[in-house]
Amino acid sequence: MKFLRDAFDGIKPDFMPGGKREKFYPVFETIETFFFTPDHVTTSGSHIRDGVDIKRLMTVVVLALFPALFFGMYNIGYFHFEQLVALGQQDSYTFMEAFLFGLWKLLPIIIVSYAVGLGVEFIFAMFYGHGIHEGYFVTGMLIPLIVPVDLPLWMLAVAIVFGVVIGKEIFGGTGMNILNPALVVRAFLFFAYPTFMSGDKVWVAGASEVDGMSGATILGQLGSGGDAALQVGSVNHVYSVMDMFVGLIPGSIGETSTIAILIGAVMLLLSGVASWRIILSGIIGGTVMSFLFQLWGANPLMDFGWKHMLVGGFAFGLVFMATDPVSATQTNTGKWIYGFLIGFLSILLRVLNGFPEAVMLVILLLNVFAPTIDHYVVQASVKRRNKRVEDKIKKALSA
């Protein structure tokens, strides 16, 4: 790879201070460090450093999203063709057809996500003269996975500009934000364009153009008093627990398959990026709440019990959003509290407010409270230390 290295070394002076393209140094640096790790060496302190840096960590997170991404592609095609078959417009379809259709629908969303988001990052990086930090690498992949497939691309673009600027850049960029930027994008879409983010016409590709189609999500149907079923014309397909686990249900692109999300979770936990404490306590919180509701059992949403954790954004939110190390709590004790509250409140809001996508908003809410939770955890340690002094003084006085 010497020729590539030589090429970078050749043009580098132009981008250095005093060079004619000085302003574009962040862009150059991003491209250079994509191909080559920098030659920075330690100067003092620990002369050796671990091989993991933020770039490498973010790569792992994106890789962990791939199972959900690939399943999402297939799922888009699956429901699209299922409705056509049910309506008699098509006889059959192959796995590959479904997958390629999904790819065709998903690719523009991914491209818009990265193009708009990175564009905003580049502008801020050039303006402030800092490098382009890798945070958006992950955010850019998260966003396509948490939106409905038929969302117009321009809405997505507007939401991303809002999400990246308000959710991240105004706080100072990667590592400084309080809220998870991908969730800010999602929340913006939810409130700005509600008809495109809920209802029974947005979850299946092309459903809005088909008569007699109900592609509502399981939660949507349960909320309106029905059962977990797909209704196309007169055909009523009831979803099994297996469907929910594998992910053959309507929903946001990457959120449907619990098993794909679990594979990602294993990758995140093995690489140490995500906190197992948050995931575990989130599951505990969700289980407790859904169990309590099942005891109550006043409506179909309450009766749904532990299956709540297989549908909607619960698993995806818990694994990929709640564990975002920047916006989550930072202390280990705090992580237990934070995860538990996310699980507990998500199911609570889902059931009592009939708010299907409560998970995302609960995580945003807890993002806001994360520093407060941490504050009290850290204060406990401070108090322990101060008490040591007080005890000593008391002992001395009584002696």
Binding site: G45, T59, Q330
Partner: protein, 445 residues
């Protein structure tokens, strides 16, 4: 009476190039140097000029803010050069050694704290006594509540005290007897609980603690935290065993003999061994014909806390280890791809500590500096009841009250060495902690 301490958090980094337990035959260096920078926070005032003749134990400079604290020559000879840097800052005071070292004779008195303090100050051995908080040379006027000695070093490639101090038991015991006069509290000695020690087994006059666990279990700061933590306004003093030997020798013979057993370690050393030498020695002879390549980083001290020096530089005054690592100033193609290059701590987690495989690590930072992103990683290797990230952040935004609350009195930069190694954001944490301590010295004292 002994007390057991078990440290759970931390990691033993296994590096290639551990010193073989035998002495290499190295000719004595011709030049020795004292570097004021080895003594943190000291502003030197010279007592000698170029051309002066000194004996071992004669003062070369003293501390501007406390003229009782003297820094004495480890050898006898002629002051040949005083190297100055920017703003005429003194960098090195070099002494060309006589063919035979002659010693200044000290009249030994050891009946009281004042006697002992006076001899230690006069001979220059006082500088071996450091204080917590702040990890600086102790103030002779202070009354420490206890003295701590860590009888083992758990850092990677560290010199093995059992080998290095063999035959010095008498001096060690004398050293302990002497320094116990300096406190009304206890003298605490911690030893490695996982193996029996030959040097420390018959030591008396101390409170013995068996410490087990991965690095930084051997750090004296960790031990203090678990035995008798430092509260605001309190002082404890620390001395290392190899320095106790010098103190003991001083009181046995009346001579300041700064002899050191140095471990020559690291993957770039052809024959990693031990060397008998004197503090401040030129390391040229030690490294001569013993390096595998030229593109190396020479460190006086260990790979986690040592100081970068040149190949013809001088051994740090407190150091008993020289480490030579490959210099890592290279670009790696797609170096950020996971699992492609060695990423031995975070990714592999604790399995790294248990495999027993030794690694040759270079000095590349393996990434660019970033804001804090990953949380909880420092806690894995930081065995204090302190939130390391909160402490580091409070230093970064320079909030004295907050630093105090977060526990700055209990830590030294070396306690953060592992956190710095595994830190994903590539922040120089030890440097930040040192700056924080310096702010506290200035503001709180």
């Amino acid at each position: 009476m002994s007390q057991d301490i078990r440290i759970k958090r931390g990691v033993d980094i296994k590096l290639k190039g551990k010193a073989e337990k035998m002495f290499a035959n190295v000719p004595q260096a011709k030049v020795f140097a004292l570097r004021p920078d080895d003594f943190h926070g000291v502003t030197p005032k010279l007592t000698v000029k170029v051309g002066a003749q000194v004996k071992a134990g004669d003062s070369l400079f003293y501390s501007k803010y406390d003229d009782r604290i003297k820094f004495t020559s480890p050898v006898s000879g002629e002051v040949v050069e005083i190297v100055r840097g920017a703003k005429r800052k003194i960098l090195e005071v070099k002494v060309l050694v006589d063919s035979e070292v002659t010693y200044k004779e000290f009249q030994i008195k050891e009946s009281s704290k004042e006697d002992v303090t006076e001899i230690l100050l006069e001979s220059g051995a006082w500088v071996f006594i450091k204080q917590r908080p702040y990890d600086v040379i102790a103030n002779p006027s202070d009354k420490p509540k206890a003295i701590f000695i860590s009888g083992y070093n758990s850092a990677p490639l560290a010199a093995d005290y059992d080998f290095a101090l063999q035959g010095k038991e008498k001096s060690l015991q004398k050293g302990i007897d002497v320094i116990s006069k300096l406190t009304t509290g206890k003298v605490n000695l911690s030893v490695d609980g996982s193996q029996s020690s030959s040097v420390f087994q018959n030591i008396s006059g101390v409170e013995l603690h068996n410490v087990t666990g991965p690095h930084p279990a051997g750090n004296v700061g960790v031990q203090i935290h678990h035995i008798d933590p430092v509260n605001k306004g309190e002082r404890v003093w620390t001395v290392t065993p190899q320095d106790l030997v010098i103190i003991g020798d001083l009181f046995l013979t009346g001579k300041f003999n700064a002899e050191r057993v140095v471990a020559l370690t690291g993957s770039e050393v052809s024959q990693p061994r031990y060397v008998k030498t004197i503090a401040g020695t030129s390391i040229e002879n030690i490294l001569k014909d013993n390096l595998k390549s030229t593109n190396v980083r020479v460190i006086s001290g260990g790979p986690l806390t040592g100081t970068k020096i040149s190949q013809d530089g001088y051994l740090g005054y407190y150091d008993n280890q020289i480490t030579v690592l490959p210099e890592g100033k290279t670009h790696r193609f797609f170096g950020w791809v996971p699992w492609l290059y060695n990423n031995i701590f975070s990714m592999a987690g604790s399995s790294f500590a248990s495999t027993g495989k030794e690694y040759a690590m270079d000095t590349n930072k393996n990434g660019e500096t970033r804001g804090f992103v990953v949380t909880g990683e420092m806690e894995k290797v930081f065995p204090f009841d302190i939130y390391p990230m909160y402490l580091v952040k409070s230093i970064m935004y320079n909030d004295i009250g907050e630093m105090e609350n977060q526990g700055i009195y209990e830590v030294a930069p070396e306690d953060f060495a592992l956190a710095e190694v595994i830190n994903t954001s590539k922040i120089d944490i030890q440097k930040i902690v040192r700056e924080g301590l310096d702010v506290m010295i200035k503001e709180v004292g």
